[in-house]
């Protein structure tokens, strides 16, 4: 595909540039501008390089696989019309970049501005050269998004935020409608490819779904092009920096709407529905926009409404269902881009050099900035449609069309008058722009002393004005070939005859034009006094309804309804939320059982074993006891929780799950120690009768929770009974049992599943454990105990701050009762090496017999925490220098991930295991599957994570003690300082 590279480059370069610009330092104004300008110029030259192909009637195409499963490809397509628009986007883009370099203040984060601008340029290019409608909608929405960012660039001002939000809401909503419309269109045609759609015009127009598709697509196009009644977002978007306005509202964003209408014109137009919707919207927009523009006091506001009006004119032309009108529309798109962009830039220059854009304050700038004045004069004359300028030519074509267009009903007769009226308005507001800003007496109260701008800032304006003049004088020689190219790609062989000459003799359009110009001048003279005096809003159409409806809807949706919903369904309290979750879970489970009629199964029950029954009599009592005691007797509740946990462990052993029992047992120990360490920081709670408000309320509350708990427990019990009395599905179990040794190389099936078959799962799991440990550590580093838990607890005060085993170790000051806890202290030291050996044993046998990295790691952690508990923090840390939990964690993660990755090096998929048996001296045959290495990683991580949490929690007490001046003889009565900075 020789076309692929340039097309892709045109599309992708701006996005790459955007990322690069976004990474530049905040004050790299010149670098960002050079980058953006370079990319725009590069894009333009790439577009230009495609000219020979396109001029010969060819179409550049490129296709890349995107989602082949859905039949979606990235499809790029550049015909004459797309070429013209791509040239407009990149060419005007380059001029705007140059202008923005001088417009933007050094205090703004300019690289961000250029990043947004480039991204927008890329999105716009994407819309223009998309060969697939879905892809077009994607880029369409991107333009909405980036225009939001551009309009809201000065996000510190409320106007920019509001304007950006309004533009996004309107255009993105339209974009959604467009998406739906495109889907319908694709359904009609059977393909989303533009080529296929363009070739199916008759089928589309005759299809029953034509009208819905048309309405949805037009909703997208008309919102984007700011057509009545969606026009109101555009004036608010003027809060953007002026280069943005010049770019978005002359050549790009708003032109996307008319681009789409022209693009789909061959397949969608030609029906009455098209004429009435598009034509009416265009007509009203053209008149209303032009009328309101006269009464704007802000230069940019005037240009905004004039833009709306001109877009209305283009839309009206597209709506006339005439090929000649389409030619006029495309021509006017070009002309409008040239003169409106230069006018926006001129308005920006005025704003930049005088500090205001208010026409009532501006006056007589002709003296201080004569060059700018002349440039603006020419551009405004083009906007007004003065002969020998480009605007005149497309206006003449418009008048001719208004006179001859074949339209249903009798609307034809009114069209020429409407056209003349709009034209007269446009003469009036152009006069107001020029006369108000540049003529009249010297300005008196300007914020800055006006002067000419930097030459480079004026250059884009000069260039555009030159184009206006050249096209106006020599249309056929300048714009002629390009226009012909674009029109031919839209209409194919059906291109009508049109003439781009300046002089067509004295005919009706010329007379109309003269009358409109005279009318406009007269109108301005009549209104001059009124306008000079200052008028806030235009008479008659004071407040247009569209905006008010929009605002009310937004207030209703985002404020009133949200508040009502929050009041209805929201709460900040945890208990109602949990109650809701439990209730919904119960109902969902209950509904499933109810609908499917799940009763007890028919499997024969196994015989009741009195031992297990007894174990669970105790276990159940422990569970209920824990529930009973958890409020006032935390230690008792914790012990009872351990009792229930032990019952679970016994159940696991009993029913053939030794691995589970082992893991549960070790986890049980560590959890209990953790909770014990935490107990110290919880407030003392003593039962006081009548402490919790009215008894009736409490009773009801407790009764409700009790019934929820009974329902949940009963439901789960019934469900598990139903499950246990059925034959379990065995497909997977069979699979694992068969392959555990033959393919996993281990005889302990559960362990093989964990480290091999579901190794990826385990890998994720140990990362979770590591993350939790680090989070706990980070939270505890900044831990501040509540004031009432700072003091040493009663028991420690009574013990006189003694440290266990001081008599044996001979460390610390000899105090009375130095044999404190002497027996456990001695025992734990004896048991420590034995526990380590048990851990290694569990680790090594894990692959073949119950054990494994996790339980081994837990055992090591328990061994160490035992030393902490009995020997004390200082004693233990003096001796166990290798105790660096984070090192253990890091190496554990590296080993596990490394083993997983190592398989890749042997050309196997991630986490593939290798296994063999090694005969070690003394120890015997040891399974040395690579899964063992993986298990060692798990082991190291578990040791590190568990210790990190336990030690961090244990250190809190030490910190508390260190922060408190330790006076063992006296209970710590004085309020203790809370400054416990740094690591414990």
């Amino acid at each position: 595909m020789p076309d692929a590279l340039p097309l892709l480059a045109i599309l992708v370069l701006p996005f790459i540039g955007a990322v690069v610009a976004g990474l530049l330092p905040t004050h790299a104004r010149n670098a960002a501008a050079a980058l953006a300008g370079g990319i725009a110029l590069l894009g333009m030259s790439l577009v230009w390089a495609a000219y020979p192909t396109v001029a010969a009637g060819g179409v550049l195409r490129a296709e890349f696989a995107w989602m082949p499963a859905l039949g979606l490809n990235v499809s790029l397509r550049m015909d004459g019309f797309a070429w013209l628009f791509a040239g407009l986007v990149t060419g005007i883009g380059a001029l705007v970049v140059l202008y923005a370099r001088y417009y933007m203040s050094e205090n703004d984060p300019v690289p961000r501005f250029f990043a947004f601008l480039l991204a927008f340029m890329g999105a716009m290019t994407g819309v223009v050269i998309s060969g697939n409608l879905i892809q077009l909608v994607f880029f369409w929405e991107l333009t909405s998004l980036f225009s939001f960012l551009l309009i809201g660039y000065w996000h510190h001002t409320a106007a920019a935020r509001d304007g950006a939000r309004m533009a996004l809401t309107i255009t993105a909503t339209g974009g959604l409608a467009l998406f739906a419309g495109v889907l319908v269109l694709g359904h009609i045609v059977g393909s989303y490819e533009l080529d296929a759609v363009l070739g199916a015009g008759d089928r589309i127009r005759e299809h029953a779904l034509y009208l819905p598709a048309l309405l949805l697509i037009l909703l997208g196009a008309l919102t984007k092009s700011a057509q009545f009644p969606f026009h109101f977002w555009l004036p608010h978007a003027m809060a953007a920096p002026t280069p943005v306005s010049a770019y978005l509202h002359s050549a790009t964003l708003v032109k996307a709407g008319v681009f789409l209408m022209a693009r789909l014109w061959p397949v969608l137009s030609g029906t009455d529905a098209w004429f009435f919707i598009v034509g009416t919207a265009g007509l009203i927009t053209m008149l209303v926009g032009a009328y309101i523009a006269i009464f704007q006091n802000d230069l940019k506001g005037l240009l905004a409404y004039s833009t709306i009006s001109h877009l209305g004119l283009i839309t009206l032309l597209l709506g006339l269902n005439s090929a000649l009108a389409l030619v006029a529309a495309v021509f006017h798109i070009l002309n409008h881009a040239a003169f409106k962009c230069s006018l926006f830039m001129a308005a920006g220059i005025i704003d930049h050099e005088t500090g205001t854009r208010d026409i009532r304050r501006l006056s007589g700038l002709n003296r201080s900035m004569p060059f700018t004045a002349r440039l603006a004069l020419v551009a405004a004359a083009a906007m007004a449609g003065v002969p020998l300028l480009n605007g005149f030519l497309s206006k003449e074509m418009f008048f001719a069309e208004a006179l001859t267009a074949e339209t249903p009903l009798g609307l034809l007769n009114l069209l020429p008058f409407a056209a003349m009226l709009a034209s007269a308005f446009s003469v009036a507001y152009s006069l107001r722009f020029i006369h108000g800003a540049f003529f009249g007496p010297e300005p008196t109260d300007l914020p800055r002393k006006p002067h000419e701008p930097a030459n480079w800032m004026r250059l884009p304006v000069e260039f555009l004005v030159l184009i206006c003049i050249m096209v106006g004088v020599l249309p056929a020689a300048t714009v002629g070939p390009f226009l012909a190219l674009a029109v031919r790609s839209l209409l194919g062989d059906a291109v009508p005859y049109y003439s781009l000459a300046v002089w067509h003799g004295v005919n009706l359009p010329l007379l109309m034009s003269m009358a409109a110009t005279a009318g406009g001048i007269l109108l301005y003279l009549l209104l001059h006094r009124l306008l000079r005096g200052g008028i806030e809003r235009p008479p008659l159409l004071g407040r247009l309804e569209g905006q008010r409806i929009f605002e009310r809807t937004m207030v209703f949706l985002s404020w009133r309804m949200a508040r009502r919903a929050e009041a209805l369904a929201g709460t900040r309290r945890l208990q109602p939320q949990l109650r809701l979750i439990v209730g919904v879970a119960f109902l969902a489970g209950g509904a499933a059982v109810w609908l499917r009629g799940l009763g007890p199964g028919n499997l024969p029950l196994t015989a009741l074993d009195p031992v297990i029954a007894l174990v669970w009599l105790t276990g159940g009592a422990c569970a209920i006891g824990a529930a009973w005691m958890a409020k006032f007797h935390r230690l008792a509740a914790l012990i009872l929780l351990g009792g229930a946990g032990l019952a679970v462990v016994v159940t696991f052993i009993w029913f053939s799950a030794p691995d589970l029992a082992l893991t549960q047992l070790t986890v049980e120990v560590v959890t209990t120690v953790l909770l014990l360490l935490g107990l110290r920081w919880l407030p003392k709670r003593v039962e006081v009768a009548g402490d919790r408000g009215p008894e009736v309320l409490n009773r009801t509350r407790r009764l409700r929770d009790l019934s929820l708990a009974v329902a949940a427990g009963g439901g789960l019990a019934a469900l598990s009974y139903a499950v246990m009395t059925r034959v379990p599905p065995e497909i997977l179990a069979q699979h694992f049992l068969q392959r555990a040794y033959t393919e996993g190389g281990g005889t302990n099936v559960v362990n093989v599943i964990l480290v091999d078959f579901r190794g990826f799962d385990t890998l994720g799991e140990i990362f979770v454990v590591a993350a939790v440990a680090l989070t706990a550590y980070a939270l505890l580093r900044r831990f501040r105990p509540a004031p009432d838990s700072v003091a040493l607890p009663e028991q420690q005060v009574l013990a006189g701050g003694r440290v266990a085993g001081t008599a044996v170790t001979g460390r610390g000051e000899p105090r009375d009762g130095a044999d404190w806890l002497l027996v456990p202290f001695t025992l734990t030291r004896l048991v420590f090496p034995a526990m380590l050996i048990v851990a290694v044993f569990l680790l090594l046998r894990g692959h073949d017999l119950p054990g494994g990295g996790f339980s081994a790691g837990m055992v090591v952690a328990i061994a160490i925490i035992l030393q902490y508990m009995i020997g004390g923090t200082d004693w233990t840390e003096d001796r166990l220098r290798l105790l660096r939990p984070r090192l253990w964690m890091g190496s554990g993660l590296l080993i596990a991930a490394g083993t997983a990755l190592a398989a890749l090096a042997f050309g196997r998929p991630f986490l593939t295991t290798y296994f063999a048996y090694a005969d070690l001296p003394l120890i015997g045959e040891v399974p040395t599957a690579s899964a063992l290495v993986f298990d060692i990683g798990i082991f190291a991580l578990v040791v590190g994570s568990t210790l990190l949490m336990l030690v961090a929690l244990a250190h809190q007490s030490v910190r508390g003690r260190r922060a408190t001046p330790r006076v063992p003889a006296r209970p710590a009565a004085a309020p203790t300082p809370l400054a416990v900075a740094g690591e414990g």
């Binding site: 958890a630 929780l641 499950v723 179990a733 579901r758 799991e765 509540a786 119950p850």
Partner: protein
């Protein structure tokens, strides 16, 4: 046997849910632990209750469900135990931090009526 284990699951879950709805953080953490016992037992029990059939193969053996208990729920529960341990630890630290910051051990960070 099945009845005993289902009742055990029910009691554990009921006690857990009751504690989950209590206002004090310590109650909630104990409740979560009890609830996770119940859920782990439930998942485990979906493989059926078999005695003396731990899934430890002979070398070279292809096991079958006739000889061994279902290892898959066991593997799932093993993962669940580990993750349960991690969340319990995290919850504990969070509740301690909240207690330090707010001065209360109420789940909402402030006592009702205060």
């Amino acid at each position: 046997m099945e009845l005993v284990v289902s009742l055990a699951i029910g009691v554990l879950a009921g006690s857990g849910v009751w504690l989950l709805l209590r206002p004090r953080t310590f109650q909630v953490i104990i409740g979560l632990s009890l609830l996770s016992y119940a859920v782990n037992l439930f998942i485990f029990s979906t493989g059926g209750l078999r005695t003396g059939a731990a899934a430890i193969l002979e070398k070279g053996q292809e096991g079958s469900l006739g000889q061994f208990a279902d290892p898959l729920p066991q593997a799932l529960v093993l993962t669940a135990i580990v993750i349960g341990f991690a969340t319990t630890a995290l919850l504990l630290v969070v509740l301690l931090a909240a207690r330090g910051l707010t001065g209360t051990d109420h789940v909402d960070g402030r006592d009702r009526g205060r």
